[in-house]
């Protein structure tokens, strides 16, 4: 019968029309500025540098090993190693990045830098409202703008942060065990700091 399919289609839209007043399923719009969808925990937007403690320069975990700079596919990270050293979380003197820029307009938030970083120094932020009026300066974030506290990291990625802390604690324990063993083995003469594998202790 001509028109039968059309009538069934009309019934379908009518059900959706009436349903939209009744069930949430039929009205899926989220009024963005007022209502916000909860962000998925694993969401990633642009990287940030983690630092322990209050002072972002002293507590910064990054040791400017430039692995992320090499591995980054669109090559948007630029690091300048510092001349002097500063003690890191485990008390060993490590380099720190005198300059650490990420060109956010080039970065495609693929989080490969997070994956390859051996020092858990760079993580992915979830802030997405980042519009600036300055196309070049505003999007070239320098070291200070990138540095965010470990507490912020715990706030946005709780399970991930907990897992990272376990890794760091394990490494710290291993480092201490090795130094205690080294001290016990090498008689009383104080040994210079053994070049323990890079580790950052937990604040």
């Amino acid at each position: 019968m001509l028109g039968e399919g059309i009538v069934r289609g009309l019934a379908e839209t009518a059900r959706n029309f009436l349903g939209s007043f009744v069930s949430k399923e039929r009205l899926t719009t989220v009024q963005f500025p007022e209502e916000r969808l909860p962000q998925a925990e694993a969401a990633r937007d642009f990287p940030f540098l983690v630092y322990d403690g209050e002072d972002w320069q002293a507590g910064m975990r990054c040791v400017a090993c430039q692995i992320c700079e090499k591995e980054c596919p669109p090559k948007c990270i630029f690091i300048e190693k510092s001349k002097d050293k500063k003690p890191d979380a485990l008390g060993r003197a490590q380099f720190y990045p005198a300059r650490f820029d990420i060109d956010v307009s080039v970065c495609m938030s693929c989080q490969i830098c997070v994956e390859v970083c051996p020092f858990e120094a760079i993580k992915m932020d979830t802030a997405f409202e980042l519009s600036t009026d300055d196309r070049f300066g505003g999007l070239l974030w320098d070291r200070q703008k990138l540095a965010l506290s470990d507490a912020h990291y715990h706030a946005i990625h709780p399970t991930d942060a907990a897992h990272t802390d376990e890794l760091l604690a394990a490494e710290k324990a291993k480092a201490e065990a090795r130094t205690k063993a080294a001290v016990a083995k090498a008689s009383p003469a104080p040994m210079p700091q053994p070049p323990a594998p890079a580790a950052a202790n937990e604040p």
Binding site: L2, G9, T28
Partner: protein, 391 residues
């Protein structure tokens, strides 16, 4: 008391005309019946645009405009200001005069159609003896303005769109007029006011509307399908088929002229629904006998509201027909059905009242529908297919 409320506008008009010097009286009384139409229907147009966008939104599980004013009511004002302030670009190679004239002629032709629509008990702008003929005569002027719009923009797409629009309008005007001829034949008059009068009686609580007769219902369905095509609405919105021709004949229009085309489209939609209400749904008559205390004009605009909701509903559901299918449908399905409907109305007129008359007429309407429908479908082997599955 209900009588005065019902006639409130008529009394108001006579009171006003009474205060005017007699020399100018005819002019003023004409003005008083024309000015409300010029004011009211563009206001309804504004309301309908927001109603359409919200209705489509609700069909598509979203809100529709709700930011401008409380739940989007002020959206048409925002659109109006936007179109007024938009720059009015006229393409260099366009034919300036005809380019400007097209929307004006289109809006004028659609406004003229309202003269004969009885909006309420003795509330009609011009009670003409040949009202329906006037309505269709003025309706056929829109094709000329569509051609002027398409041709004067000197743009390949708009010319294609204009040609399609004219071909569609002409081929759907025939079933439109034929399906209204059945009502004219049954009512025996061309005047819209007396057509409404013929439908105003009640048996028991049911009204004598023409739509409750077999030929009336078939005529109503045919009339509405042809009306949708005539006003370029959803399944027949080929002239401005976005996916192929950018925007059909009003591609090269911007600013207020573009808004005029929209005004004309919605006015056309309302006036053709008004005519359908007058011919088939008893104009301003109340649907049930005990409801006659409600003023007559409220019934007319209530029914108009349902027609508009129907147009929006169809627009939200049906995909678009292709040009040749559109033509085949008009000439091979609508026209024969309209002619058969004419014969059914004749048979209805001369058979004695009773159940036999109902059966014969219903058969005369349903049988060709099924046969033509199957022929139409089989002609193209359209059927729901079953699919085989490999291992």
């Amino acid at each position: 008391m209900t009588e005065t409320i019902d006639q409130i506008f008529v009394i108001l008009k006579h009171w006003l005309v009474g205060h005017v010097p007699t020399a100018v009286e005819p002019i003023v009384s004409e003005l008083l019946s024309v000015v409300p139409i010029i004011l009211l229907f563009p206001l309804l147009f504004a309301l309908i645009t927001v109603m359409e966008r919200k209705g489509l939104g609700r069909i598509q599980n979203r809100y529709g405009p709700n930011r401008v004013g409380p739940c989007g009511i002020l959206q048409p004002i925002a659109d109006g200001i936007k179109t007024l302030t938009k720059e009015n670009i006229v393409p260099h190679s366009a034919d300036k005069v005809v380019h400007l004239l097209a929307p004006l002629l289109l809006v004028m032709a659609t406004f003229l159609g309202y003269a004969v629509l009885p909006v309420g008990r003795n509330m009609v702008a011009a009670n003409m003896d040949a009202g329906v003929l006037f309505f269709f005569a003025v309706g056929s002027m829109t094709e000329l303005s569509v051609f002027m719009a398409g041709w004067s923009s000197r743009n390949k797409y708009s010319l294609l769109g204009a040609m399609r629009a004219i071909a569609q309008m002409i081929s759907y005007e025939v079933p439109l007029i034929l399906s209204s001829v059945t009502v004219i034949m049954a009512a025996g008059t061309l005047s819209t006011v007396s057509i409404v009068e013929q439908q105003s009686g009640y048996t028991g609580i049911f009204p004598h509307w023409f739509v409750f007769t077999p030929w009336g219902f078939a005529g109503f369905v045919l009339f509405m399908i042809a009306a949708t095509a005539e006003s370029n609405r959803s399944p027949f919105d080929l002239p401005e088929g976005e996916s192929e021709l950018i925007a059909g004949y009003y591609t090269e229009y911007s600013g207020f002229k573009f808004a005029l085309f929209f005004l004309a489209e919605y006015l056309g939609m309302m006036s053709i629904s008004g005519m359908a209400i007058t011919l088939f749904l008893g104009g301003w008559a109340a649907p049930l006998s005990f409801l006659t205390w409600i003023p007559s004009y409220l019934w007319f605009f209530g029914k108009l509201f349902f027609f508009i909701a129907g147009f929006i509903w169809i627009r939200g559901t049906l995909p678009r027909l292709r040009m040749d299918q559109l033509m085949n449908f008009a000439w091979k399905f609508m026209l024969p059905m309209a002619l058969i409907n004419l014969v059914t109305a004749g048979v209805w007129r001369f058979m004695p009242t009773g159940i036999l008359r109902w059966l014969v007429c219903s058969a005369m309407v349903v049988a060709p529908y099924v046969l033509l429908g199957r022929g139409f479908m089989l002609g193209k082997r359209l059927e729901k297919r079953t699919y085989r599955f490999a291992d």
